[in-house]
Amino acid sequence: MISQVFILSSKGDRLVYKDFRGDVGSDAVGLFYDKVTAPTGDRLPVVTTYKDVHFVHVWQGGLYLVATTTTADSPPFAIIEFLNRLAALINDYCGSLSEKTVQMNFALIYELLDEMLDFGYVQSTSCDVLKNFIQTEALSSRPFSLFDLANVGLFGADTQQSKVAPGSAAARPMQGGKSEIFVDVVERMSVVMGANGVLMKAEVEGEVKVKCFLPSCSEIRVGLNEDLSIGTSPLRGRTTRCSLSKIKVAKKFPPFLGYGAAVRVDECHFHPAVRLDDFDAHRVLRFGPGQGEQSVMTYRLADHLPLAPPFRLFPAIEKDNAGRLLMFFKLRCDLPPKSAAVDVSATVRVPKGCVSLSQELSSPDQSAELRPQHRAVVWNIARFPGGTQLSALFKLDVPALSSASMMEVGPVDLTFELPKVTASGLRVRFLRLAPAQHRGPAQRWVRYVTRSDSYAIRI
């Protein structure tokens, strides 16, 4: 059972504080913050204990969501999942989870907490139940931006661009929205690649998330690739596509990437509410919509990815006559030519004691900087189209450069986002709502994105 729940900003301001059982004093907040700021140099471990009070915290969106409990045999999984759920609910109700939104919507959050927990016991965390009780309206904190106007056409007509789901669409509070449904296929990639380009580890964790703001809808059907195979079961023969899908997708659907083999995942788990009657035959997920975001299916794929890893690095590192360290990198993006990676950032670990950096980058939209406190050179590439190659030459001044220092260079860690690409090849074939929406067409969005979890290249 949970004694208190409080939310602290990263600076230690108390944003929300609710006591459920009255067995821990309100000075617990101060105690916790003392522990956070204690100069251990590292992030606070998930559970800390002071006397007989246990603090369990989750760090999300720059906020500490903390639960205290006095019983050491409380289940940690349940408490942490609860805090995560609280964060997700705040995100759903307020549009985003940040210090600002929490400050603006604290009344709503008190109301949420009041309904979610009673006497420290979790009562309900499902959006469907909670929405009956929550009365306060969320205040959205979207700043005014000229970009919002860009989508408005002449005389308010929709421009072509408005067919594209705005990036902020998903970050809209769930109340008072239009009738919209978002299906997001989000994949996280973690790769370890040897210096010679050999894959040492490749793993993809994927999730099909549905965010639904439909007032009247009894069933959603999501069709996945028909040739999807799970585990090592024999590949299914391809069946002809029997139905034309009427999906409005985010941007034009890129021509289906030419995966030779069938799409495969190693293991997958479904939300308990998903009915899998049609899954074996047609790979269709059927489920009743819930308000807010829910993860319908999670899956995992390891070692044998259908596509080559998206980036290859060709490094050359040497010492020049002036005692500087020269690092020459060629970075190749192996995505299909029509897609591109965005927000690519390569972090190269450099020897201790680097003083300055001079750089030669192959195109002007790149940038690089030296971060001495992290011992790293960060190379940022805003947009990196598939099939192209970029190069960079970094000259580093290291006062005490020895041959041993060369060993300290690397690995290179890449962070990136691949919009419209799934590393596993999973696609949403169709998205149908039943019964057909009669009050105006519902907006249906299907989006794909692959993000890097950890993409390390050895040197």
């Binding site: 504080y17 590292d42 998930v46 246990h54 760090w59 045999d73 940690p76 349940a78 950890s454």
Partner: protein, 811 residues
């Protein structure tokens, strides 16, 4: 406090709240109240607004009501009288046709936490239990638990308890779970809610209706249920099978916990459950929430204690991500160390090597010591990596590597040559005291193998005045003295200087005392010094008992899915990287050795005095110097032991001796304390059965160094527990070894007062069973080569003394 003008703000708000114009405008009124709550949650004291807020409570606006309740519940205990005013409003709300209003009122009525209001609350609560709306019943059920918590000493109302039990059959699953929770709290004194067969099966059948939280709660409470038959047990297990692989970690963990407690007598089923849960656990390892990832890692560590091979093939899942926080990385490395096997060791070390240069020094250090741990089984590969890291010449890395090497050498002495070669030049890079201590220990212990050791020590001695850490100085003293013993010519001068400094100039008492001790020791002669200072070079216990034996599941099942595994960070890292223990006691170990040697002498003398029977052999035997060197490997030991049995009769150079020693039950003393006690007197234990296992056996060996010759003694201690059996065994061996000299041991009559002391020491241990206090009869079989009766008896007397001084575990 965030604002300076708090008082003004509160006064302003008070004015606004009491302004009738504001009160009539719903929106403005609500905004004012919002402001109050906002500054309240920032930690400002707004208790002076209590009466205004009480007034604001009487409204039809539910949002406003909720806000006011948040306020009231926080401050009610400060204003019990004024709170009475709220009760009327609340009781009226309890009659409201809207169930939401009813539940809200009921919940906050019980949240006020005022004992004086109890009498007003009970009636609405009783009504609430029978309310039509489930949400009101949910609140009412927990309301009773809250009332009980307010007045824990009040009598439990049997009618309410019965009503709560009957509400377990409520159609609403949350009401059912809340009933369990409430009963659990109300009946805490009686051990919580009673789970009989019908209730258990009812709960199991309705498990599916509950949400994640309810399920994990029910599963936890079901741990208390004991199925009546095996069939029933397996019915329950198959019913729970689906939840065992649930994608929701709380449910999965709670189910596994239940499985383990149900199958505590069926280890095979528990192991099957652990196998089954592997998939979901690994999936949770890749969870997007790093807190969940961390929690899963901690629990996987528990699992690996019993099933070390569980995750071996999935080691790649535990590779660290670049951006992961250090606490996850360190946990992952701890798991990786456990997973190492012949197939993955190359990949694993390659990965760990990458972490050694991590920007976070703690992570780098953890990676280096993880490699050291793997080095215990794969020393060659690891030493290559470790020596390579020294080439980086970075302070923190070098320090960690030297410490790791010291720990490694301590456990596997065969690495010492490589390590000694690598030490050259490290002293210039080391600046922290931990690293210096490790280097000094290595130089002192293996000074004969490191050519430059005297020069390195000289540099340290020259700089000793600038050294701030007394631990380093003490280590330096020991190292120099040890080096002096093996390389006197080169070291004599600097030792003199160091001792002079230590005695004359040093202000730290510990250092000064140690210098004095060493000085006086040297005055006694080099041989005496050698006896005291020449410490062990390795920890032989670990070299023999390769690999940790798999623990039974029951060792950790009770802490599974609790906060305990997550809190054990400090203790576990200490276990993993034993450098902490090392450095803290290493410098003193020689001292304590010396002390104990003195103590032992006095003990033996006193034993001799006590047992002054003329026939006693012990008195006649003088103290035999024992030594651990040269070390015996288990294989050699086994060979000699078997050889001893078969050949001693023919070759008259060896001897076998069987002896019975009475002492209190040493089988209960922990293996560590036993081993430590034996090592104090330079007896090496090679292998032993776990405590409390019968028959209990220990194999040990030592060398006697009585001039003119030294002998090797091998020994076996056997305790069968049953006196009759032991006699049989004894007869048997007697017959078998007829030709050997069999000394039937003197029954050492223990003085009654001595025994009393022991029981007094153990009196506060309630779990000290009778068995522990009893005198056990140990059969001691000794084999010696070459034969030297005097030395053998001397050894036996020492052994007996040690066995007597050993006390049962827990003291």
């Amino acid at each position: 406090m965030p604002y300076l003008g708090n008082d003004d703000t509160v006064k302003d708000l008070k004015r606004v709240l009491s302004n009738p114009h504001v009160q009539s405008d719903q929106l403005r009124y609500r905004n004012a109240i919002l402001k109050v709550i906002r500054i309240m949650s920032q930690g400002v004291d707004v208790s002076s607004l209590f009466s205004e807020m009480v007034k604001a409570c009487a409204t039809v606006d539910i949002v406003q009501k909720k806000l006011v309740y948040v306020f009231l519940c926080s401050y009610a205990s400060l204003n019990p009288e004024l709170s009475l005013l709220v009760i009327n409003t609340l009781r009226k709300d309890c009659q409201d046709p809207n169930p939401m209003v009813r539940s809200l009122a009921l919940r906050n009525m019980t949240n006020l936490r005022l004992p004086s209001l109890m009498e007003y609350v009970e009636q609405p609560l009783t009504a609430g239990l029978r309310d039509r709306a489930a949400c009101v019943r949910r609140v009412a059920v927990l309301g009773w638990a809250k009332l009980h918590k307010l007045q824990p000493n009040s009598e439990i109302d049997g009618a309410v308890v019965n009503e709560l039990y009957s509400l377990l059959r409520d159609p609403d699953p949350v009401v059912m779970v809340n009933c369990l929770r409430a009963l659990e709290e109300i009946l805490k004194e009686e051990g919580g809610v009673a789970i009989n067969k019908p209730i258990a099966h009812h709960l199991l059948n309705r498990l599916k209706e509950c949400d994640v939280w309810g399920q994990s709660e029910v599963l936890k409470i079901l741990q208390r249920y004991q199925p009546h038959s095996e069939d029933e047990l397996f019915d329950i297990l198959s019913l729970l099978d689906a939840s065992l692989v649930s994608p929701h970690t709380p449910v999965m963990a709670a189910t596994l916990s239940l499985f383990l407690s149900l199958c505590s007598t069926l280890p095979a089923v528990s192991l099957a459950a652990l196998e089954r849960v592997r998939g979901p656990l690994l999936a949770a390892c890749g969870s997007a929430s790093r807190e969940i990832r961390f929690t899963v890692l901690c629990h996987i560590q528990l699992l690996l204690r019993s099933v070390p091979g569980l995750m071996g093939a999935h080691y790649k899942r535990f590779f660290c991500g670049y951006a992961e926080p250090a606490y996850i990385k360190q946990r992952k490395m701890q798991v990786l160390v456990e997973l190492v096997n012949d197939d993955n060791v190359a990949m694993l070390l390659d990965e760990l090597k990458e972490y050694c240069t991590d920007v976070n020094t703690d992570t780098a250090q953890a990676a280096i010591s993880a490699i050291g741990r793997i080095g215990r089984s794969y020393s060659d590969r690891c030493l290559v990596i470790l020596t390579g890291l020294l080439g980086l010449k970075q302070e923190n890395i070098t320090s960690a590597v030297v410490q790791t090497m010291r720990d490694l050498v301590w456990v596997s002495p065969q690495c010492s040559d490589t390590v000694c070669n690598a030490l050259e030049g490290c002293e210039e890079i080391l600046h922290d005291s931990q690293g210096k201590q490790a280097l000094l220990w290595l130089l002192g212990t293996y000074g004969d193998k490191v050519f430059s050791a005297p020069y390195t020590l000289e540099a340290f001695i020259d700089g000793v005045r600038c050294e701030t850490s007394s631990a380093v100085k003490m280590e330096l003293l020991t190292a120099t003295l040890r080096l002096f013993l093996c390389r006197p010519a080169e070291t004599q001068d600097m030792l003199g200087r160091l001792l002079h400094y230590g005695i004359e100039e040093e202000t730290d008492m510990c250092v000064r005392d140690q210098a004095l001790l060493y000085y006086r020791l040297l005055q006694c002669g080099v041989d005496e010094t050698r006896k005291v200072v020449q410490g062990r070079r390795s920890d032989p216990s670990l070299g023999v008992l390769i690999g940790r034996p798999a623990e039974p599941v029951s060792q950790w099942a009770h802490i599974f899915n609790t906060l305990t595994p997550l809190c054990q960070i400090t203790s576990e890292t200490e276990l993993v990287n034993s450098s902490f223990q090392h450095t803290s006691y290493q410098p003193n170990s020689d001292l304590s050795d010396a002390m104990n040697a003195c103590q032992l002498q006095s003990i033996e003398e006193s034993v001799g005095e006590h047992t002054q029977s003329p026939s006693d052999i012990l008195v006649t035997s003088t103290i035999v110097p024992l030594s651990l060197l040269p070390t015996l490997t288990p294989a050699e030991f086994e060979h000699l032991w078997i050889q001893g049995i078969t050949h001693t009769e023919k070759e008259q150079d060896g001897v076998c001796m069987i002896e019975h020693v009475q002492c209190h039950n040493v089988t209960h003393s922990s293996s560590q304390s036993f081993q430590a006690a034996m090592q104090l007197v330079n007896i090496q234990t090679l292998a032993f059965t776990p405590i409390n296992v019968l028959p209990w056996r220990v194999y040990l060996y030592t060398h006697t160094e009585a001039p003119p010759c030294s002998t090797l003694i091998l020994g076996e201690l056997l305790y069968t527990g049953n006196a009759n059996e032991e006699e049989d065994a004894f007869e048997h061996t007697k017959g078998y070894h007829d030709a050997n000299i069999i000394v039937v041991g003197e029954q050492i009559e223990r003085k009654a007062n001595h025994e009393e002391d022991v029981t007094l020491e153990g009196k506060n241990k309630s779990d000290l069973t009778k068995d522990n206090g009893q005198v056990a009869k140990l059969k001691v079989t000794l084999k010696q080569k070459p034969r030297d009766d005097k030395a053998l008896r001397g050894f036996l007397s020492i052994l007996t003394t040690v066995l007597h001084t050993l006390s049962p575990e827990g003291e």
